[in-house]
Symmetry: C2
Subunit: 153 residues, 2 copies
């Protein structure tokens, strides 16, 4: 689905847009050493190849009324029944991410809620909706959350 970056121009454009999603084509063109229209064509191709999946404002969760984050590891209670837990959990707005993981548990979720009470309610809902056992690790402080950067050489 996604093809890798092809050259240094692509790398430059992706790095610039990862750092500033609203960078203009002329800014990008200057950084990449291309004309504006060549830059435009490059960016479009990056979008169409799925390298750039979209653009988003980075919003402070606290401003949204979601100051409490937690990791929830979940284990299906009935391994026999069809496992549609991720699809069901995607319906819950509080669930920000869902990973299948190696180890004792099957899935790991990152959730955000307004309060401890709301976390309790959410865990109850997760257990019911997905028929799972939960093990929750509360986030006390977020030191940083940023975009992954490819290793420099």
């Amino acid at each position: 689905m996604t093809s890798p970056l092809e050259d240094d121009v692509d790398r430059t454009l992706v790095a610039q847009l990862a750092a500033d999603g609203r960078a203009t084509l002329s800014t990008l063109a200057a950084a990449a050493g291309l004309s504006v229209s060549a830059t435009q064509a490059r960016v479009r191709r990056l979008e169409q190849r799925g390298v750039i999946r979209g653009y988003a404002a980075d919003v402070d969760p606290e401003a949204l009324g979601l100051p409490l984050a937690a990791f929830v590891a979940i284990t299906p209670l009935d391994p026999a029944q069809p496992d549609d837990a991720p699809a069901r959990l995607a319906e819950l707005d509080a669930v920000e991410a869902c990973y299948s993981v190696a180890g004792e548990e099957s899935y790991l979720l990152l959730v955000r809620v307004p309060s401890p009470r709301a976390l309790d309610d959410l865990l109850t809902e997760i257990r019911q909706v997905a028929n799972v056992r939960t093990r929750t690790t509360v986030v006390l402080q977020t030191f940083f959350e940023r975009a992954a950067r490819p290793e420099r050489r």
Copy 2:
């Protein structure tokens, strides 16, 4: 530092920009029912209040050559010495997020690397740099990673 959203116009603008970080002011103005300039002033204020922390392209980690993700729980080996682990770990490009957590371990990291071998090297580096013990949970599949959404009412 960050003030909460003030009214429905703010909520609309933030929701639109979270969904499309490159939305134009005229698009936003139409969604919010304001003039373009009033919209611009609102967005500026949201940025200055820290509600909107920035804008970023959402880049596929695989295209960046980072197909392997893992959660790394870490425990300081020497509780006596000053704990500057988060600051040290921020230096490592492969470390995407760092949280202080409740529970047996002190911190939880999300890391991205090119290969199992690179994960091994990274864990060695994390142990040395931060003087910690690590417990790693490999991500097998990412079902979704998205922006947190405030609960609807």
